[in-house]
């Protein structure tokens, strides 16, 4: 019984994490038709922001030593700035190109960001300990204990999801964003500022990446310059499974991927477990063969101006 509860919590927490990642990608895709492969590297940057920029073997905490509130604000702000810069310096100049071109540009950006980190911080993994109290266990009923961090990830995800829904439904700019996501050109013809809407999407995507950086580093305790790449792959898969362009789909896809990976890890016998990711991808292929448009239907991606 306790094993089942632990697996469920673990699945939900992985799912939440992937859902947040897929949402960060989905937000940009919805207004810009950009699949941003640099999203994982935004998370990496959030992680490295915690320590003093140096290639020393042992990391010295910088922002990581701040008061928790200040720490969160600083990391999130840095990642938002990076996201915004990547719009104004890079993506803005290719935003009228095809989605394929933009995607390739995002690969290039991601690769560049990784190499900048490599240059500044060196290639060795660095240990960082933030919020150590969260990695402990908490007893949730007789004899069943789970990691606090997993509960935190689930809670943070749902707070962010609800906040995002309220933002998109209740605020003027939120409604403008939904309109622009559906028909960018029409929104502009009604006076919605296209550039601001896209910049806002980058801000939201950076906000999510910043928070994810904190959750991720708390969990792993290690920084490496390529740590964003493998998780990005899962975010991308989650986005595709959910249905490109649908934010609900991104969340559904994130949970689907997270739950499937955790359940597979739990039920597969030991010697097959190393093939878990391969099996996840196989399931993805099967899902997409049956539903090429993804799990959640959207109004198809329209041409934009």
């Amino acid at each position: 019984m306790d094993y089942i509860i632990q697996t469920v919590i673990s699945a939900l927490s992985f799912g939440s994490f992937y859902a947040l990642g897929a949402l960060g990608i989905g937000l940009l895709f919805s207004v810009l038709r950009l699949i941003n492969f640099a999203h994982g590297d935004f998370i990496t940057i959030g992680g490295f922001a915690l320590i003093v920029p140096s290639s020393a073997v042992v990391a010295t905490v910088l922002i990581g030593g701040f008061h928790p509130v200040l720490l969160v604000i600083c990391v999130v702000a840095i990642v938002i700035i990076v996201a915004l810069l990547s719009y104004f310096l890079v993506f803005q100049h290719v935003q009228n190109s095809s989605p394929a071109t933009m995607m390739i540009v995002s690969f290039a950006l991601g690769y560049t960001l990784q190499n900048i980190i490599l240059m500044i911080y060196g290639g060795r993994p660095k240990a960082v300990n933030i919020f150590p109290e969260l990695t402990g266990q908490v007893q949730i009923s007789d004899g069943v204990s789970v990691q606090i961090l997993q509960l935190v990830i689930i809670a943070v995800t749902w707070i962010l999801l609800i906040a995002l829904v309220l933002f998109l439904r209740r605020t003027k700019v939120g409604v403008q964003m939904r309109a622009a996501a559906e028909d960018f050109r029409m929104a502009r013809m009604l006076g919605v500022n296209g550039k601001s809407v896209i910049a806002l999407a980058f801000i939201l995507s950076g906000l999510l990446a910043g928070i994810m950086a904190l959750l991720f580093v708390t969990q792993t305790g290690v920084l490496t310059f390529r740590m964003g790449t493998p998780i990005m792959l899962f975010f991308f898969i989650a986005t595709v499974i959910g249905g490109m362009g649908s934010l609900v789909g991104a969340v559904v896809g994130g949970y689907a991927v997270g739950i499937v990976s955790v359940v597979l890890a739990a039920v597969l016998p030991g010697d097959i477990r190393i093939f878990r990711d391969a099996l996840v991808f196989l399931i993805v292929i099967i899902i997409l063969l049956g539903r090429p448009q993804g799990l959640v239907l959207t109004k198809s991606a329209k041409d934009r101006v």
């Binding site: 003027k172 409604v175 403008q176 939904r178 309109a179 559906e182 028909d183 050109r185 029409m186 929104a187 502009r188 013809m189 009604l190 006076g191 919605v192 500022n193 296209g194 109004k299 101006v305």
Partner: protein, 248 residues
């Protein structure tokens, strides 16, 4: 002159879709551009709205040059377009659709008044206020997009084929509404249609566009017999058959 399109040439690819086309609209006028498929009517309106950028020529609105401006800047300047195919935001509800265009306005207090007025003009929109706009019928969607364009408080509204896909009685309703809007608030209208029939009834002036070139311009009063329009529309030098009942 409120809006003046002066000798614009517009390219999608190497061949121009519009060749040195000129259109002007005076304040308070209803002007119609008619022409067959592919004539360049939509291209003209999209150029005015800043969606397309002419390769040569100028567009001025209220004395200011507006070509090269972004679509949102053109909307702010006071030109609102109801494009071909309506383009309602299907996932937004009716009220959200209507309110999208109000963000560019400074006159906060008048927005609510105008919002109420639009719901009065189109009572069906009031009934469906909280319903997703994608669930409206074609006619209701046409009313929604006209109402939405009105709420940007434009000085001139351009409409691309308002009668497309509507039953004749609904087309009458739409035109009645447009004429009333002109009468009540001095709205200037530039309307694109395939057929000249409606234009000859409702407009003040008429342009005939074919193959990217302007064929004819004139006061509707002078064109009532239809022969000139027919020639310009089909490109006949002279009516060579007796078949004057060609439907167009």
């Amino acid at each position: 002159m409120l809006l003046s399109v002066d000798n614009i040439t517009v390219h999608y690819s190497r061949l121009p879709a519009l060749r040195e086309v000129s259109v002007f609209v005076d304040e308070g006028e209803i002007v119609c551009i008619v022409g067959p498929n592919g004539a360049g009517k939509s291209t003209t309106l999209l150029s005015i709205s800043g969606v397309l950028n002419p390769t040569s020529g100028d567009i001025t609105f209220d004395g200011k040059r507006i070509n090269g401006m972004s679509p949102e800047a053109v909307a702010r300047a006071g030109i609102s377009q109801v494009p071909e195919g309506r383009h309602v935001f299907t996932t937004l509800n009716v009220e959200e659709n209507l309110r999208i265009g109000t963000s560019i306005r400074q006159d906060r207090s008048d927005i609510e008044k105008d919002f109420k007025k639009v719901l009065e003009i189109f009572p069906v929109l009031a009934e469906r206020r909280k319903q997703a706009a994608g669930k409206l019928s074609g006619g209701e969607q046409q009313m929604l997009v006209i109402g939405r364009a009105l709420l940007t408080s434009p000085r001139i509204m351009t409409i691309d084929e308002p009668s497309l896909g509507l039953a004749p009685n609904l087309v009458d309703r739409v035109y009645e509404t447009l004429l009333e809007l002109r009468k009540d608030r001095g709205l200037t209208l530039l309307i694109v249609e395939q057929s000249s029939e409606r234009a000859l009834k409702s407009a003040d002036r008429l342009y005939v566009l074919r193959s990217g070139q302007m064929q004819l311009e004139g006061n509707v009063a002078d064109l009532q017999d239809g022969e000139k329009v027919r020639q310009a529309y089909f490109g006949f030098e002279e009516s060579t058959t007796d078949d004057d009942e060609v439907a167009f």
